[in-house]
Assembly symmetry: C2
Homo-oligomer: 196 residues x 2
């Protein structure tokens, strides 16, 4: 029995209960460790990628690229790092490069993978792979039809303040800030790779 | 027009498309800033509270209380801080105290509110209010029927390493670690309140 065998739930039945334009939901019957049965409902998600874009000016001062976007379930605009869902067959790294370019116009010459996070472990299969991008080159953005978002830049200190004071509440962006803080204080050493 | 008026989406119709045991989903028609229509699907969630429980031994060494719990949509056990959904009419602070006691057996004599995060801004209304708890007193836990989870303790340094190396991928727990790091490095000053 594995270390956590006393915790494992086993699928007995699975049924798709909703298939919409974006959301697909399942309702499964599972057997609990004590032998009783329970229901698990969850959203199936293709996964996503998020980019932490770092701009450096001629004096070595750093700024981060953020977006302000209306998020309908929140009923308001939110500040967040660029991110998006994987297209079918797309790798998280390819998705990260595509979303950065489409939403902000920037392309990056150097990339480092930070890690992966799971935003909704109780009711969605979603993962978000986080990439850091530097040596940015500005270009034209290509928003999807009907997509509206503002692009802005902030200092790392501003972002950290905003994560703690409630100005930024998006979980993926706050998670990204932990990697950023660890990058700046030297406790995390990224492996940079060039795209050229 | 507000600062972000050019980003706002306006609800035109709203319909409940799924009501299960735990999940409720809606599908709305919205008018986009450019006047075209779009579909927004999302889960309605009551909100949740998460607790960062800090243990201090007689030498002043700190340990954090974590849980290991099977998370069905992930297909595996996850390491996470204690958390749970608000009961109807329950405040996040009451929920934090209840979940800590039910899941770990600990009660805390001092609490500080860290902030609120939104884990799924594109398809759920969920918020998680994060509280820090210290001066813990051990007691008996009271798990819900069918609930199984292990309680463990780690050092702050172990947790930080695990957030960066992929051992911990739960987003709410990684967000909590940013507040912890800011508490320990002095950049965040919590307002402690006593429960007695």
């Amino acid at each position: 029995m594995p270390l956590d065998g006393h915790l494992i739930e086993v699928q007995r039945t699975s049924a798709e209960v909703y298939r919409g334009k974006f959301l697909t939901a399942f309702k499964d019957a599972v057997e609990l460790p004590d032998g009783t049965m329970a229901v698990r409902e969850y959203v199936v998600h293709p996964g996503a990628a998020m980019v932490i874009p770092i701009l450096e000016d001629e004096n070595g001062n750093l700024r981060l690229v953020l977006e302000r976007q209306f998020r309908y379930p929140m009923g308001r605009t939110m500040l967040e790092f660029p991110a998006g869902k994987l297209d079918p067959g797309e790798s998280p790294f390819d998705c990260a490069q595509r979303e950065l370019q489409e939403e902000t116009g920037y392309t990056a010459q150097e990339w480092a993978r930070a890690g992966v996070i799971h935003p909704v472990i109780s009711y969605s299969t979603e993962f978000i792979e986080i990439w850091i991008a530097r040596k940015l080159v500005a270009g034209g953005r290509q928003l999807d039809a009907g997509e509206s978002l503002d692009v802005l830049t902030v200092t790392p200190a501003e972002l950290m303040t905003w994560c703690l004071d409630g100005t930024v509440t998006d979980a993926k962006t706050i998670c990204g800030s932990l990697w950023l803080q660890s990058l700046f204080n030297g406790s995390w050493k990224p492996s940079w790779q060039s795209t050229r």
